[in-house]
C-alpha cells in the first residue's frame, strides 16, 4: 500500500471526532462506552500511522516499534475500561432500572 501516512492520520482524526460527538450527544451509558472505544481506536490508529511514517521514511533501516507497543497497551486498557464500565452499567441497572445518564444526577442535585 503506497497511501501517504497523513491519510491514516486524517482517518484517525475523523473517527475521534465522531466518537467525541457521540460521547457528548448520547445519553445511553452503553452507547457512551462504545463511543469511548471508538476514540481509543482512533488513538491506536494514529499510533500506528506515526510508526508507519517513521518506519517507511527515507533512511530508516528497521521498523520503529514504539507505536505498535503502545497500541497493544491501549488495546489492553480499552478492554479493562469496557469490563469496568459494563460492570458499573449492571450495578446501575440493578439499583435504578435505567441506563440513561439523565437519570443519574445525584452529585449535581
Amino acid at each position: 500500500m503506497s497511501v501517504p501516512s497523513e491519510h491514516l492520520f486524517i482517518l484517525a482524526v475523523v473517527l475521534f471526532a465522531i466518537g467525541a460527538a457521540g460521547f457528548f450527544l448520547r445519553r445511553n451509558v452503553i452507547v457512551v462506552l462504545m463511543c469511548v472505544e471508538l476514540m481509543l481506536n482512533a488513538a491506536n490508529l494514529s499510533f500506528l500511522a506515526a510508526s508507519r511514517m517513521h518506519s517507511l521514511a527515507a533512511g530508516a533501516t528497521k521498523p520503529s516499534l514504539e507505536g505498535p507497543t503502545f497500541a497493544i497497551f491501549v488495546i489492553v486498557v480499552a478492554a479493562i475500561e469496557a469490563a469496568v464500565g459494563l460492570a458499573l452499567v449492571i450495578a446501575l441497572y440493578r439499583t435504578r432500572q435505567t441506563v440513561s445518564l439523565d437519570a443519574v444526577t445525584d452529585l449535581k442535585d
Partner: protein, 179 residues
C-alpha cells in the same frame, strides 16, 4: 489495488462510526461498531501491521464486542421499540448544537495539525515481515517496557477483583441482614 481497498475501508469505517452515533437501537450500535473494528483491522493489515490486525480482531471483535452484546441482551435493551426516549431526540436538546460544534472544532484542529506536519510520503518498500515483527515487539515489551507491562498486569488483576465486587448481587446488604 491495495490503495483502493484502503480508501474503501476508510469510508466504511467512517460510515460505521456514524452508525454507532446515530443508530437508535443499542443493538444496531454494537453491530456498527463491529463493522468499524473489522474495517480498521483490514486497514492495519494493509498498512503492514499484521500482529495488530490479529489482536484487533481477537480482542475488540472477539472479547469486547461480546461483552457489550452480553450486557445489552442481559438488560434486554436490544428489543425493537426499546429505544431510550432521551436518545431519540438527541439533536433537539438545548446544548446539542454546542456539542456538535465542539466535535467539529476537534476535527478542524486535528486536520490542521496533520496539514501542518507536512507530507509524509512512503519512500521505502514494506518489509516482508511487516512493520510489527513479533520478535522485535517482544523485545520491546519485555525489555524497555517491562515496567509498564508489569503495571498493566497488576491493573488487570485489580480490574478482575473490581468487576466481581461491582457486579455481585448486593452481598453487603445480605450479610448485614444476617448479622
Amino acid at each position: 489495488m491495495a490503495d483502493a481497498l484502503f480508501y474503501v475501508m476508510a469510508i466504511a469505517a467512517v460510515l460505521a462510526a456514524l452508525g454507532v452515533v446515530l443508530a437508535k437501537n443499542p443493538m444496531q450500535c454494537v453491530l456498527s461498531l463491529l463493522a468499524c473494528f473489522f474495517a480498521l483491522a483490514i486497514i492495519y493489515l494493509l498498512a503492514g501491521f499484521q500482529f495488530l490486525a490479529a489482536a484487533q480482531i481477537l480482542v475488540y471483535a472477539g472479547a469486547i464486542m461480546v461483552l457489550f452484546l452480553f450486557v445489552i441482551m442481559l438488560l434486554n435493551l436490544g428489543a425493537p421499540g426499546a429505544e431510550d426516549p432521551t436518545d431519540t431526540r438527541m439533536f433537539s436538546r438545548a446544548n446539542s448544537a454546542l456539542m456538535v460544534v465542539v466535535a467539529a472544532a476537534l476535527l478542524f484542529v486535528g486536520a490542521l495539525a496533520v496539514r501542518r506536519a507536512g507530507p509524509m510520503p512512503v519512500t521505502r518498500e514494506l518489509p516482508a515481515e511487516g512493520l510489527d515483527p513479533i520478535p522485535g515487539l517482544a523485545g520491546e515489551m519485555f525489555g524497555r517496557y517491562l515496567l509498564p507491562f508489569e503495571a498493566i498486569s497488576v491493573l488487570l488483576l485489580a480490574t478482575a477483583v473490581a468487576v466481581v465486587v461491582l457486579a455481585k448481587r448486593d452481598g453487603r446488604a445480605k450479610s448485614g441482614g444476617n448479622a
